[in-house]
Every structure is written in C-alpha cells, then in structure tokens.
C-alpha cells in the first residue's frame, strides 16, 4: 500500500473538485444556505403570516338570534370581529372568503337557557383556513365565557360555590430540560438532514470521478499510468468521503447557526420566552462530535456504494439515472425514524441508515445509550467496509470499466 500514490490521486481530485462549479454547489452552497433559508427564512415568514392572520378583524355572519338580543348584543360588542349582513348564500360567503365564519343561534336560545333546556350553537367555518380558524376561536371564546357566566348564575341561584363543579384541577408539568424538549422536537430532523446531505454531498463527486471520467475519456489515460487500481480507487474514494463529510459538517454548522437565529427571532418577535426555549437548540461540542463520529462510517458507506453504482454507468447522465432513486432508499429509513413512537431496539439498530437516524435523534436530546452506540457504529462500519471492498473489486473489472 503506497500512501504517497493515494495522496497524489486525492490531491489531484481535490484540485479538480474545487474548480468544478457543480461540486461546489452540492458540497458547499447547498448545505450552507439550505438551513438558514428553510428554518430562518420560512420560520420567520410563517411567524409573520400567522401574526398577520391573527391581527385581522374577521367578518362574521350571524344566523338567527333575533329572539336572543342579549347574545346578539354581546357578539356585536366584541371589538375583535366585524358582523356582516347575512345573505341567503352564507355558505358561499365563507367558501369565497367574504366572511371567515358563521354562528347559528338556535330559536328561543335565551328562553331555552332560562328553562334549562340544552340547545346547540353551531359555528360554520372553512376548515384548514387559518384566518377562518382564528375567527372560530374568537366566537368560541365569547360563547365559552357566556356559557361560564350562565353556569355561575345557576350555581349562585342554588347557593352553590363554583368549586362544586370543579372538585379538583389537573395540571401537567414538564420535567425535561429545555434542550431535551427541543431535541425531542428537532432531533429527528437533524439526523435526517445530516444523513441526506451526507448522501447528496457524496453523490456528485461519486458520479464525476467514475462515470464522468469514462465520459470525458480520461479513464484510459489514468489506467495507462503505473498507479495500481487499489490506490486509484482509494484516492478517489477519499475525495468522495471528504465531500460527504464536508457537506455534513457544513450542514451541522449552518443548522446550529440557523436554530440560534431562529430562537432570537422568536424572542424579538414577541413569541415569548417559552417559545424561545422550545426553539433553542444548543448543539454542544459533545453532541456535534458524537454526530460526526456516527456519520463517519455512514459517509464511508455512501461514498463507496455510490462510486460502485456510478462506475457501471458509461456517462454522467446514466449515472444520474442510477443514483437519483438511491435518494429515496436513503430518505425512507431516515423519515421512518421521525415517525412518532419509533425508538431504537436491538433489531432496528442493525438496519443501516435507520439506525444512525434514530441514534442522532437520541444524541441530540443528550441521551447516550452506549450499547446501541457500539452496535450501530460497528454494524455501519461492517456495511461500509463491505461497500468499499466492492468498490475496489469493481475497479478491477474490465467489463465494468470498459462497458460497451
């Protein structure tokens, strides 16, 4: 084994990669700007849009209620809503967004309350429309207040205290530290993004260094030099690995900056400390180091597997058509790890990609199950070694190198 030769190939591949716009975009620009745009950009936009929707004074249609003047008066007095005239097609008013909701007061509503008959007040809205939902909340809040005051009056009439209907209260309290709470919320996404970007970072160089080299006609040139095929494939492999890890590193860096920016935005935007605490995700050095350690064998697996597959292709385009479906193979287990209730088990710890994804979720919450860490690290190392062995073997097959 000549490390010098591996180093020569690696240095040359690195020089070429740094001069290639497509590699720079997939390895550096995408991970650096994806998170800020996705989290801060879309996060800020979402906060702004929700705030704007909340500020709007919704138009409400009142159906009936002529014989319940007290209720009508109460609704009219609400400064948070605007009552609009009722048309015969009030449903289309809501569907066409001319009104946000309608409230139907049953006939003899007030009289029924007096006689303690139970009536049904209906609120009609546009489900899924955030402005309609906010309007519904406002009407509901008013009706709940009215409901409570009726109950209060009835209890008072019978000389009963309010506590008669409230024998005890229930309160839930979080005992997990804020970073664990936010980790549980975001851990899955972090693992998913690191894995996905590790893969996409490796994908372009893997194609360029194999099928791309065949297409450009440089494969025969390099094969005519005295370097052994083992050294050649290792030099190329280390460059693809660098791209995968570089992408993962930049994505973690960009992610931590984005989350801290997002938490600041939530504070400044009046989201309150609770929202900020939930969003604040401190990826300490220990977590980052652990994430990297676990991403390392996975990156080796990706680099070797992608190179092996791309080497079959004669052209860059053909390689693309082989590797693009691979993204789905990676995304599915990564997404599966984000499903609620999916946790590490000894069996799941052996499934490649899914195991690392689940572990990332735990690491981000600060949980270290050393037995699982050992199983996952070792099993991924075995898969990675097998993929690398296969890549070396493929580079020695003439029918693959000179496929016609």
């Amino acid at each position: 084994m000549s490390l010098r030769n591996v180093g020569i190939v690696y240095r040359k591949e690195l020089t070429e990669a740094l001069r290639d716009r497509r590699t720079l975009i997939s390895t550096i620009l995408v991970p650096l700007f994806l998170f800020p745009v996705l989290s801060v950009g879309f996060g800020a936009l979402a906060v702004k849009l929700v705030g704007k929707a909340k500020e709007e004074v919704p138009k409400i249609v009142i159906l009936g209620g002529e014989d319940s003047p007290q209720v009508l008066e109460g609704l009219r007095k609400l400064d948070k809503i605007e009552i609009v005239p009722t048309k015969s097609g009030w449903k289309s008013q809501i569907v066409e967004r001319e009104a946000r909701a309608a409230v139907e007061i049953p006939q003899d509503f007030q009289a029924d309350i007096q006689s303690q008959k139970v009536d049904l007040v209906k609120i009609y809205n546009f489900q899924g429309d955030i402005k309609s939902e906010f309007a519904t909340e406002k009407i509901e809040a008013y009706l709940n207040d009215y409901h409570d005051s009726v109950v209060k009056d009835r209890l008072a009439a019978k000389n009963l205290p309010v506590s008669a209907l409230k024998p005890f209260e229930v309160k839930k309290e979080n005992v997990a530290p804020p970073e664990k709470v936010s980790g549980a919320a975001f851990g899955g996404i972090i693992g998913y993004m690191v894995i996905l970007l590790c893969m996409t970072g490796a994908m372009y160089p893997a194609m360029d260094l194999t099928a791309g080299e065949k297409e450009r006609g440089t494969m025969e040139t390099i094969l005519s030099s005295p370097i052994s095929r083992l050294h050649l494939v290792l030099g190329k492999f280390f460059l693809v690995l660098t791209a995968a890890l570089g992408t993962a590193a930049l994505s973690v860096l960009s992610m931590s900056v984005s989350f801290s920016m997002l938490s600041k935005y939530a504070l400044a935007g009046g989201g309150g400390k609770a929202a900020a605490a939930e969003l604040l995700l401190k990826l300490g050095p220990k977590t980052v180091a652990s994430l990297f350690l676990m991403a390392l064998p996975l990156a080796v697996l990706f680099a070797a597997a992608l190179m092996t597959i791309a080497l079959f292709a004669k052209t860059y385009k053909e390689a693309q058509s082989y590797l693009t479906p691979m993204t789905i193979v990676v995304v599915i287990p990564a997404i599966a790890s984000m499903l609620p209730g999916v946790e590490l088990t000894p069996k799941l710890a052996l499934i490649p990609i899914l195991n690392v994804s689940l572990l990332c979720k735990e690491l981000v919450t600060g949980t270290y199950h050393w037995n699982y860490i050992a199983i996952i690290f070792l099993s991924t190392c075995v898969y990675a070694a097998a993929a690398l062995f296969l890549a070396v073997k493929m580079f020695q097959r003439e029918d693959v190198l000179f496929r016609s």
Partner: protein, 251 residues
C-alpha cells in the same frame, strides 16, 4: 523491447456469445524500431495495444514488455510504457502543466527531477505559452502536445500509439508523426496502430496486418511487396485481409 506469445483476448457478449477479439497474436518489436499494426476497424488493434499497456488483461498467452510480464508485473510494465490514443483524453479542469506533473508524480518522480523534466519537455515541444491554461481551453494541437508531454514525462522505453492521428487535422497529425519518428531516433521501442496506409509506408520498419484478431502477415514493406507481388500497400492489405474480412467485428 516487446515480445508477445499467443496473445489472446476473449470477451463475452450477451447477444453474440464469446468473442475472440485477439486470437493468438505473436510478434516482436525491437528498440529503435517502429512496428505498425495495420487493420480495419474492429480488427483487434486497440485490444492488442491495451493488453500491451496492461489496461486489459490477456485471456491467454502473454507479452513481455521491457523484460516485465504484462500479467505478473503490470505496474512495472506501465512504468516503462508511454501510451497515447484518441481515447486518452486530458483532465479538463487541470492546466497543461498540472496534467503533466500529475503523471510525473504517478510515475514516481521526485519534485526536483519532475520540475527539470517538465521545463525540458515544455521547451522542447514549445508549450510554454499555454502551460497555465486549463486543458478544456486548449486547441486540438495544444491538447495533442500536452498528451505527448504526458507520455514522455517518465522517459519510457516503450511507446504505444493507438491510432494517434485519428480525427486530427494535417498539421496536428504531422506533429504526431514527427514525434513518433523522434522516438525511434532516441532508440525507443515503438508500436502503433492505424488504418492509414500512407502513415505505415512513411514510418514503419515492420508491418503487422491484423484481421479478426489474428496476425495474418508480418514483415518490412519490402518483404510484403515481394511476398504479395504488389507495390501498393493498400493492394497488399486487401489481398491479405479479404479472405478473412467480416464487417462490424468486435474491437
């Protein structure tokens, strides 16, 4: 020195089954000599030369290049061979100097020696004006010169040229022809393949006519003329090849 003994290469094709691309080829090529491998498309020229350059491994038979067996010591063979073909392109994102230096390093040259040789070759081939230019920005002629510099950097004893003038304009082709002659003058063993008769007539000391993977005739131009009672090489070629000719054969 190149010596081949029963050199054979078999390919397996799903549709056509086993293909004998090269079938028991034996010849010798001596230092200071140019051996021309003449054949139609798909006759087996490229496969033969790829085996000599150890890019492909023979299925049967063997070849000794500069005293090294192509199967047993392929890396030592490649360290003594300069291989140039139309399929040996340049790395587009490296400049001419980086391209040549890369192959110098792969051939084990130290940095001091490498710098000396690069300066020498670049001056000799008049390449200094474009040494910092990226290979994808070079003209065809400049690319050919860079390829020549790449094959020469480790001063190999054996030069293998696979249809080196294919698709080139006259002026660039003349540079290549001149370079092949220069290799002979420097005492190198030269083998080159072509289907251009005039190149063979101008250059070759020994001519091997290959068809269907078999070496059908071999000798100097004078010997072939006498043997086949024809003055024109094209006529000689047709006389040798026609009984064996099958169009669209595997390369």
């Amino acid at each position: 020195m190149i010596e081949t003994q029963g050199l054979t290469k078999l390919f397996r094709d799903k549709k056509r089954g086993e293909i004998r691309a090269v079938d028991g080829v034996s010849f010798t090529c001596k230092p200071g000599q140019i051996y021309g491998l003449l054949g139609a498309n798909g006759a087996g020229k490229t496969t033969t030369l790829r085996m000599l350059a150890t890019i492909l491994e023979p299925s049967n038979g063997t070849a000794i290049v500069c005293g090294h067996d192509v199967i047993e010591q392929p890396e030592k063979v490649r360290a003594n061979v300069g291989f140039l073909s139309t399929a040996t392109a340049l790395y587009p994102r490296l400049n001419a100097q980086e391209m040549v230096e890369y192959f110098g390093r792969l051939n084990g040259l130290g940095e001091t020696e490498l710098k000396k040789r690069v300066d020498d070759i670049f001056s000799r081939l008049d390449m200094n004006s474009f040494r910092d230019r990226r290979c994808d920005k070079l003209s065809t002629g400049m690319k050919q010169k860079t390829s020549i510099a790449r094959t020469l950097i480790h001063d190999p004893q054996v030069m293998i040229f696979d249809e080196p003038t294919l698709g080139l304009d006259i002026m660039t082709a003349r540079t290549i022809i001149g370079f092949i002659r220069e290799c002979r003058q420097r005492g190198k063993t030269v083998i080159f393949s072509t289907h251009v008769m005039s190149e063979v007539e101008k250059l070759c000391d020994v001519i091997g006519i290959i068809q269907s993977g078999k070496l059908l005739a071999e000798g100097s131009l004078a010997e072939l003329r006498e043997r086949y009672q024809e003055l024109d090489l094209e006529e000689i070629f047709v006389k040798v090849v026609v009984p064996h000719y099958q169009p669209e054969e595997a390369a």
